[in-house]
Amino acid sequence: MKLTKSERALLYGPLAIVLSFWLLIPACLGLISTLTNFAPVESSVMWVGLHNFQAILSDRTFAAAVRNIAVFILAAVPLELVIGFCLASALRRPFRGRTVGRVVLLLPWLVSPVASGVMWHFLFGSERGFVGFVFASFGLATPPSPPSQHGLALLAVVFVETWRVAPLVGFLLLPGLAGIPRERWENATIDGLSRLGRIRHVALPAVRPLLLAVTMLLVGGALSTFDSVLTLTGGGPGTETVTPALYSYGKAFTFSDWPIGAASGWLIGGAVLLAGLAYLRLSRDPEL
């Protein structure tokens, strides 16, 4: 379809204006400002080269944050994908209550990360929480809250975020799985494929682009994790649950150190772009 010049302006103009001024230009300015000491209180802006990045990379808290987010992503993203896939498979064929089931999948995602952190902070608690209740029901001593425990805090963060996101993954994968024609499942069964074989040769190829898109969103979201951690553990105990985004947030707002906050924010941005490159590569090449 041929579009005239004015039609193109009508279609792309509003989007281009909003994206440029409220997203792209600030992002570019942000990237440039990471090489300066720019801050609202600073009267003279000076070029500092890579100084901000050097300061961040030699900061042990940031190193801990990188380690934490790597563990978090390696644990949470596959878990969310697998659970989400199972949920979508279980809801694939129509049955009574499926519509309700699909809506229920959205519920944890409706809880904002901030609120979900607070909610689990109390649910994990011993006095009035659910975990304490279960232990007490069995006549056991109530354990201390996992988010405050050495070695358990990061797992607790993984659990809380998986609770919030995995059902959403199921919600997003469901249309893809439900759209696979019935004959393909039947043919695969006739060909003697096991359940795993059917998942590998029927389900996964059919939802591959969707799965890649969802994984991209999950990895991007996971890299920027901070609000749920802020209210669940505050980054502790020690630096066990500090994430790069929480580090960046803390630097910018608690210590009013804009240059460090912005530069560490862009380090996360860089990681997202790297993940994005891998995603673009994979989504272009159907064989990989």
Partner: protein
């Protein structure tokens, strides 16, 4: 079973159990919180744990004691999220239509990149954004934060609409085009009516994303304008010793508008999909 063709197999039993467990895992934390908000809490110090049941609305009332402007802030959140969602959907639909119908490879190459853009951490651009907004006098104003949230969610919306429009039938469109209809008439009379479900579903999804957005309003607003996640964060981080029932009440109230929205429009939400292609019950999908 109405058809009588599908015999109950052990697999169905396993599926039912899996779904029942999933349902419990999703619902128990939310119900626990809602109960606490209405004065129903366990006491885990006794063996077996006992329940203190004193249904009350006091905790809901306490929220506006702790945070006097709570209801005002709730209204602000509704307004900002609704306008941002509708605006983002509108500009994204126009842009996606252009990309999907200009026929070039540009659209196909560009759209996976949109998903990367949608994952860009807010931390990478929000500090300079606040500086840009300050210079044009939109810092701490409703238009400033609304447009910022619209820009943050627009890339995802373009991705969704593009996938939908690629899969949709074009016959009516092309016929209307041959009769000399311009793009604006085409959109109004042909394309938009056929896309109502996906547009409605996307607006709801964007509304939820905007409703739960913390970092953008945290940085670009503060005194004149305050949205719910910012308030809740203050609530939860500054007053760590905050009474759990009051926190639960604030949390429950902040969830109610979303529950109403999802409950009312779940039929549309079912049509939400990140991928183009055949959906059950969608008659005009060409799968291209």
């Amino acid at each position: 079973m109405s058809t009588g063709r599908e015999v109950r197999r052990p697999r169905d039993a396993a599926r039912s159990i899996f779904l029942a467990v999933a349902l419990l895992v999703v619902l128990v934390p939310l119900v626990w919180t809602a109960l606490a908000a209405s004065g129903i809490q366990p006491n885990n110090d006794t063996r077996p744990p006992s329940w203190s049941i004193s249904p009350t609305v006091d905790h809901l009332a306490e929220v506006s004691v702790v945070e006097p402007a709570f209801w005002q802030e709730l209204a602000t959140s509704v307004g900002v999220s609704a306008i941002a969602a509708v605006l983002a959907a509108a500009i994204s639909f126009l842009g996606a239509y252009g990309l999907a119908r200009s026929g070039g490879r540009a659209g196909r190459r560009l759209t996976p990149g949109l998903l990367v853009l949608a994952s860009l951490p807010v931390m990478a651009y929000v500090l300079p954004l606040s500086e840009v907004l300050r210079r044009i006098g939109l810092l701490d104003t409703l238009p400033g934060v609304t447009l910022a949230e619209a820009a943050a969610t627009a890339p995802l919306a373009v991705y969704v609409f593009y996938a939908h429009l690629l899969g949709a039938s074009r016959e009516t469109e092309e016929a209307a085009r041959l009769e000399g209809a311009g793009v604006s008439r085409l959109l109004r009379d042909v394309v938009l009516p056929a896309s109502t479900p996906i547009v409605a579903a996307t607006v709801i999804v964007l509304f939820v994303l905007d409703w739960n957005q913390l970092l953008i309003p945290l940085v670009v607003t503060g005194i004149q304008v305050r949205t719910l996640p910012v308030v809740l964060t203050d609530f939860f981080t500054l007053e760590r010793e905050l009474d759990w029932p009051t926190a639960a009440a604030a949390l429950t109230i902040s969830l109610v508008p979303l529950l109403v929205l999802v409950g009312l429009f779940h039929r549309f939400l079912e049509r939400f999909s990140l991928s183009a292609g055949r959906h059950p019950g969608e008659s005009d999908a060409s799968g291209g």
